[in-house]
C-alpha cells in the first residue's frame, strides 16, 4: 500500500443508506450509518438478525446483488467513494483490496469445484501468477490457515472438508491477495462452538500479522469482546452505540447494548436461571417508527422516545457515541423504568423478573 495515503482513514462511511424495493414497499435496511476505520484497525458490528449489519457490510463491498437495491451516501475507501465506481473498477478492488469471509462456509464454496481452483483462481487474475506459482501460493495459504496436509486438501472438493476446514479455506481465499480491508460477516455463526473460537483466533492473528483492517460482523457481543478496537452496536439499520470496545464493555449506555449483554448466559448463573431475552421483535423496516426504533422494546421508554429519534452524539468520552434519550444508568432511565414497571410494561417486567440483573448495576456476578 502506498505510504503517502497512510494517514488518511482507510474507510470512511458517511450517511450510508440501503433500501430494497420489494412488492410490499421499500425495506430501509440501513438508515444512515457513518463511521471511519483506520488502517490495520478492527471494528466489530453487533446487532441481532435484521439489524442491517450484513447489509451494511455488503453495501460497502457493493455485493448486494439484484436490481432492487439502492444505496446512497458515501463509502470512501482509500479516499475514493466505492459507491460510484464502475463494475470493472470494483473487480479491481474485490479480492485484492477488499475481501470478505461469509457466514456459511457450507454454501460459500462452489460444491463442484476443487479447493485448488477456488483458492487460486483470483490469484492468477490479481497477481498475475502462473499455474505452478499459484499452486505454491495456495499451499502456503492453506498452511497459514492451519489446514493439515495442504497438498491433499487442494485436490479435495468442499464436501470432503469439515465446516471449520471450509471456513479456513474461505479465509485463505479472502487473504490470498493481501487485502487491506477484510469483512468477516458472522464467520462463526454456522460452525460448532468448539471451532468458533479457533476461527476467531485465526482471523485475529491474520489481521494482526498482516496489519489489515477488519470489520467483524456478529450478533454475539462475546465475539467482539477483546478482539476488536471499536464496536458499533446496530439496531434497525441505525447505529445505537459506537465506542472503543474497552470503554463500551466498561460503560454500556444504550438500553439495546445492555439488553444484548443481558441475554448472554453466563456459567456463573445458577442453573434454571431465566435468561433475560429481549421482548418483542425488531421493527418493520418498510415503515420504521418515527421515534427511537428500540422504544417499543425498551424498558426505559418515555414519551419523548416515541416521538423523536435520538441523534448519535458523543458523550463524556469523545470516542463514545450514543443515540439514546435515556442512557442506562442515568437518573431519567431509573425514573422511566420505575414508571414503566408500575404501569406493567412487558419489557420492564421481563427485566425485573430476571434475577440475574438489576437496572442500576448491570449484570450481577
Amino acid at each position: 500500500m502506498p505510504d503517502n495515503v497512510a494517514n488518511s482513514p482507510l474507510l470512511e462511511v458517511d450517511d450510508l443508506r440501503t433500501t430494497f424495493t420489494i412488492p410490499t414497499g421499500d425495506v430501509k435496511a440501513v438508515r444512515g450509518v457513518s463511521f471511519t476505520l483506520d488502517r490495520g484497525r478492527t471494528l466489530g458490528i453487533v446487532g441481532e438478525s435484521g439489524s442491517g449489519k450484513t447489509v451494511l457490510a455488503r453495501s460497502i463491498m457493493r455485493l448486494n446483488l439484484g436490481t432492487n437495491v439502492t444505496t446512497t451516501g458515501t463509502a470512501a475507501f482509500d479516499g475514493n467513494d466505492v459507491l460510484t465506481r464502475s463494475p470493472s473498477e470494483m473487480r479491481q478492488l474485490w479480492g485484492s483490496e477488499m475481501a470478505m469471509v461469509f457466514q456459511d462456509p457450507m454454501t460459500s464454496l462452489n460444491p463442484l469445484v476443487r479447493v485448488q481452483r477456488q483458492v487460486t483462481e483470483h490469484l492468477c487474475r490479481h497477481l498475475n501468477l502462473n499455474r505452478s506459482e499459484a499452486r505454491q501460493a495456495a499451499v502456503d495459504l492453506l498452511r497459514e490457515v492451519r489446514i493439515p496436509d495442504p497438498d491433499t486438501r487442494l485436490r479435495s472438493f468442499p464436501h470432503e472438508l469439515s465446516g471449520g476446514m471450509r471456513q479456513r479455506v474461505c479465509i485463505a481465499v479472502a487473504l490470498a491477495c493481501e487485502p487491506s480491508l477484510l469483512f468477516a460477516d458472522e464467520p462463526t455463526t454456522a460452525l460448532d462452538v468448539t471451532v468458533q473460537h479457533q476461527i476467531l483466533n485465526l482471523l485475529s492473528r491474520e489481521q494482526a500479522d498482516r496489519e489489515m483492517a477488519m470489520v467483524l460482523v456478529t450478533h454475539d457481543l462475546g465475539v467482539v469482546a477483546g478482539r476488536t478496537d471499536d464496536t458499533m452496536v446496530m439496531y434497525a439499520g441505525t447505529v445505537a452505540e459506537y465506542a472503543p470496545t474497552v470503554s463500551l464493555f466498561a460503560d454500556m449506555r444504550h438500553p439495546y447494548s445492555e439488553a444484548l449483554m443481558r441475554s448472554i448466559p453466563l456459567t456463573s448463573f445458577p442453573s434454571h436461571t431465566r435468561l433475560a431475552a429481549i421482548t418483542g421483535r425488531p421493527p418493520d423496516l418498510i415503515d420504521p417508527p418515527t421515534g427511537c426504533a428500540f422504544s417499543p422494546r425498551c424498558p426505559y421508554v418515555q414519551d419523548h422516545c416515541v416521538n423523536e429519534a435520538p441523534p448519535l452524539v458523543e458523550i463524556d468520552d469523545p470516542a463514545h457515541r450514543l443515540a439514546c434519550w435515556t442512557p442506562v444508568g442515568s437518573p431519567e432511565a431509573l425514573t422511566a423504568f420505575e414508571k414503566n414497571l408500575a404501569a406493567g410494561l412487558p419489557q420492564a417486567v421481563a427485566v425485573d423478573v430476571s434475577t440475574t440483573w438489576s437496572p442500576t448495576g448491570g449484570v450481577d456476578g
Partner: protein, 334 residues
Amino acid sequence: MIVLARRLVQLVAVVLAATFLTFTAMNTLGDPLFNVVGFVAAVDCDAVEAGEIEDISGQGGTSLGDCAVVAEAREEFHLNEPLPIRYGRWVGDLIRGDFGTSFKNRMPVSTVLADRLPKSLLLMGMAEVFAVALSVPWALAAAYRANRAMDRASTIGAFGMLALPNFALGVILFYFFVVKWQIFPSRFEDDNLAVRLKSLVLPALTLGMPLAATYFRLLRTDLITTLQEDFVVMAKAKGLSNRWIMFRHALRPSMFSLVTVFGLNTAALIGGALIVEQIFSIPGLGRALVEASIRDDYPVVLGATVVIATGFVAINFAVDLVYSYLDPRVRRES
C-alpha cells in the same frame, strides 16, 4: 464394475419387458401371415377342407392349394405354436444374434436395422447438437440479465418455438429452403457423409428447435437459481469477471435438469422422429417402425423395439455418468 453389472441386468429386463409386450400386442391385434401369403391368410382352411366352404379355385378364390401355402407359411414362421413358446423361440434367436426375417420381403431384420439405424442416429445427433449449441449460449445470455428486455423476448420466442408443432415447422422449412430457394435437397441423399449431413440439416433443425426452446427454459431457470447462491457472491467478491463466473461457476451446477431432459429426449429421438423422416423422405428407423406396424411385420417391429429399448437404457446410463462427472458428491468410490 458392480454398477455396470447392475446396468446390464436393467438392460436385459427392459428389453424383455418391452419386446414381450410388443410381441403379444402384435400377435393379438393382427395376423402376420396376411403379408406373407396375401388375403388367403384370412380363410378358414379347416372349413374349406371339411367342405363347409365352397372350393372356388380357378376363379381367383380360395383353394386347398392356397390352404397348403398358408399351412406351410404357418409352419415356417412357427405360427401354429402357442404364443409363449414362440416368444421364447424369438428370444433364443435374438441371443444367437438372429433378429428374424421381415414378413414383407423376407429381408433379414438385422439388414433392415443396419440400413435404417445409422440415418436415425445421425439425425438424432445433429438435432441435439443444434439444440445444445443454440440453447446454452442463449440461456447464459438471458440468465445473466434476467427479467430484462432480452430475457423477456427470449421467453416469448421459446414458447413460440415450443408451440409450433414439428410438422408445421418442417413444412415451413421445407417450403422455403427446398422448394423456394432450393438450398437443400428434397430427399435424403446417401452418396457420402457431406451429402448426408447436408440433407439432414433441415430435419435436424426441425427436431432441434423445439428441443432448444425446452433446454433454454430449463437452463435459464436453473442458472438464475444458481446465481443467487452464496458461492456466486463469493466468486464476485474475489474480483472474478462475470464471464468467468457464468462459465466456470454457475453453468455446471445448473445443468442437472438439462442433462436429465437431454437424455430422455435423445432416447425418444432414436425411433421417434417419424414425422420429420416422413416430411423430408429420410429412410430412418421411425418410418420403418411405422410401416412395419401397419403391416403387422412384427419381426421388424420387435427388432426396432430392441434397438430403442437398448438405446434408452444406454443413454440413461450415460446421463448418470454425466451426473457423476458434473457433481463430485454423487461419484461413487470406484
